[in-house]
Symmetry: C2
Subunit: 162 residues, 2 copies
């Protein structure tokens, strides 16, 4: 039904190992998930509704959690909403969040990670995972439009850190 991928194999293996099943819904959700950097459950629900309008939101939640268990996804909370990151494609990364629009830029920086390890070991811990979010004001052009998204942000209020 879906074209075979390395990620599908990972999922199949995970399921087989514990007697779980590969369903049509899981295949559809995985395929959609692999096409993006990150999604919230509701976004995913909306996206796959075009493939099959009968898949329930609960199934989306259950499947995205499942993908986290396989290591293909990673859950991140922004405020009170959760996002699921596609780790399979890009590896671990951090987030630079625009405080004026909804844009989220992903990045990675080895030097920062190294310093994190240092802090942790100084405190008697080994890092298992981490989360770094930078909340930034975009540089605006003279006319008040955002250099990044092009919108006029003169009067916008800031998005607060979460």
């Amino acid at each position: 039904m879906t074209k075979p991928t390395r990620e599908l194999d990972i999922l199949k293996l995970y399921l087989a190992k514990r007697g779980l099943k590969l369903t049509r819904q899981r295949e559809i959700i995985l395929a959609a998930f692999l096409k993006m950097e990150h999604v919230s459950a509701e976004e995913m629900h909306w996206i796959i509704s075009r493939k099959d309008p009968h898949i329930g939101l609960a199934t989306v939640y259950r499947t995205l959690k499942l993908l986290c268990q396989t290591g293909l996804a990673q859950e991140q909370h922004f405020g009170n909403k959760a996002q699921f990151d596609n780790v399979a494609h890009k590896g671990h990364h951090d987030h630079l969040i625009c405080t004026r629009c909804e844009k989220i830029i992903e990045f990675e920086n080895c030097q920062i990670e190294a310093l994190q390890e240092e802090v942790a070991s100084r405190n008697g811990f080994t890092i298992h995972t981490h989360k770094l979010e930078l909340y930034g004001d975009p540089v605006l052009l003279p006319d008040g439009t955002c250099k990044n998204c092009g919108r006029d942000l003169t009067d916008n209020t800031r998005r607060t850190p979460q």
Copy 2:
């Protein structure tokens, strides 16, 4: 009623400037807040219930948000719960979170912050604030007790990153 502090002055000024009022509830909550590094709304509600059992949870939420606006507090989300950090006392800091118990260690690291600025400016942003959480496994002693909290953690499951 409460002993005067620099923080109380900051709050008074903020309120006066926009025609808001200093109430008994706000004084009680601020005084309690200044004694701790961070609190959740429910913890705060419980703590001040000893001073006045009639203060509602909604008032606690409203007041903690107010403290964020004054710059005395900063809201941080851990999973689906929010914590309010006492910025007034310690300045900005990051969190090292034990994945085995509920312990949260606060730290700050200038080198990491400098690298963050670098990442942001490379992407056309100036950092307004940030959030860094390290999720770590504590070093266990030979008998399986945690070097940090002293509890036996042999069989515990991990706390997941949020």
